[in-house]
Subunit: 317 residues, 2 copies
């Protein structure tokens, strides 16, 4: 195992002063719908609005002085970029964030607000990687990956560490799987005492197929409403997933949207669609979770209030 | 004083098993904007979505067996009706909720979900009161007021009791004022050690005028975006307010909408406009609160996601 539970606890100690210990929320009405006891770990209320602050803060604080001195860099249009900008500001070093030219104003503003340098490029993965390489060569900044990095995995696992101190005797833990860093970190902490389940959209089923076949398959499916889960599982993350995760569950786009709506209406949390995947998975698989105490990590809350995928007057229980 | 701090502590002990101890959230970015330290008590995450659950649960649990046996009744189009329905369900008695015929589907559904009988009437205050009287006569149910009731005031004060155990050494406490029950209960708990401020919309300035002149004036102004603050301060509540509150602050409709947007964007909490009034008041009165630790009670989160008064792309700090 490239990352141990001790690594996660070290990360927990290191990053605790710089992140929120996020609250755990419950809802009787959602429990009734799901037929089990649900404990929502609200990483949507994390610094910079997503769990990614955890891994990135751990990665930046773990850099040697020599490696940190020229700053850090990455390419990102979303939470990773903002989280890295914030982590660099905490350490007092430069951050260079490459963003696609079609990045929304609010996301760009969030990165700039943390004092980072923003560099625009064409909105393709190739252009992003080329531009990042150029920046790294020119500035000597250190590339901080959003995932598939041991310090990042250990940092993401700290959400589960907190949850396990906040709620006793969970039976299961559900985590959305995109690149798999949060899933890997959570599984290291919770497994085998607590069964860990991944969940993802049916139309981006690479984690499910990889898990089922034992061979890592990749996919990139921009059609899902879950913009955080379009990507494939990383190599390190997959090896941890294969060893420690109980199952990888699939849900439809409509189930995700309904779950997001329920989280708004019942839990009063506006989460991104990626977070809603795990509630959708519990509701779809009622027999699996019946009567259990299930932890669910809500991964992020950076959504546009005027671009929600549901309407309010839908007659939803 | 009709309600003492001991009454509030008794209510706290009585209702604690039946309500959420709501979390306190903070945001560095909002602190920077406001120039002070803000601690948000999230009653938007309370049972039934608003602080009103506190007072109503205390009122219903405080009824004698004789007075409770025929159930409880009220007229309400909103949070009070849902909270009373839930409190009656907890005690195993009937609830009769008179609602105006133009009540939105989601609010009606919330009341019905708690097992209450819903009775429709014409959407005027006179029709609501007439219908309620008829129901009370026919069923023998006990009318539970939404405010200006000692048990309700004591129950609302429990939010401040929790906040003071969650955050040490607050300098000030801000509370929206509509009917004034939450304000009165909070002031009983916090004053005089902590300065208590009321806040309301400029266009419904009855609390401000009453406080300034020392004479209770009434107004009903449906034009404000704050549907929870259209009403006037109750008589009991005003007498407590006059004795214990430091000042009554006013804010404009646009300031309220901007504050609601900031609470979404920075704190990730979708609150009703009434809750946003207090953040608007802190931002408008920076000199008053500079460098202080200020508690703010977010009163409710029952808003329609498709009917928000702000747009997302507005360039707001």
């Amino acid at each position: 195992m490239p990352v141990s539970i001790d690594d996660v606890w070290s990360a927990h100690k290191k990053i605790a002063p710089f992140i929120h210990q996020t609250p755990v929320l419950v809802s009787q009405q959602l429990d009734d719908i799901a037929g089990c006891w649900l404990f929502f770990k609200c990483e949507n209320l994390q610094k910079a609005g997503a769990f990614k602050s955890r891994g990135v803060v751990n990665a930046v604080l773990s850099l040697s002085r020599e490696n940190a001195k020229n700053g850090v860099a990455t390419h990102s249009s979303g939470n990773h970029g903002a989280a890295l900008a914030r982590a660099a500001q905490l350490r007092g070093i430069n951050a260079y964030i490459v963003i696609p030219s079609n990045t929304k104003h609010v996301k760009r503003a969030a990165i700039l607000a943390y004092g980072a340098s923003v560099i625009e490029c064409e909105p393709t993965l190739a252009a992003r990687e080329r531009m990042l390489e150029k920046i790294v060569v020119e500035t000597g900044a250190r590339f901080v990956r959003p995932y598939d990095d041991d310090h990042v995995i250990a940092g993401q696992g700290t959400a589960a560490v907190e949850l396990l101190t906040q709620v006793n005797e969970l039976d299961s833990l559900l985590v959305p799987v995109g690149e798999g860093g949060l899933l890997a970190g959570s599984a290291i902490v919770a497994s085998p005492k607590i069964k860990v389940y991944a969940a993802e959209p049916e139309i981006v089923d690479d984690a499910h197929r990889s898990f089922t076949t034992g061979e890592l398959v990749t996919s990139h499916t921009p059609e899902t409403v879950c913009d955080g889960l379009q990507t494939s599982v990383g190599i390190r993350n997959f090896s941890i997933m294969r060893d420690l995760v109980t199952d990888a569950l699939l849900v439809s786009e409509q189930e995700i949207i309904d779950a997001m709506h329920r989280l708004w209406a019942r839990l009063k949390q506006v989460v991104n669609p990626s977070s809603a995947v795990i509630l959708a998975a519990v509701i779809r698989n009622q027999k699996v979770f019946a009567g259990q105490k299930a932890g669910l990590i809500l991964t992020g809350g950076n959504v546009d209030p005027n671009d929600l995928p549901f309407t309010s007057e839908k007659n939803l229980t």
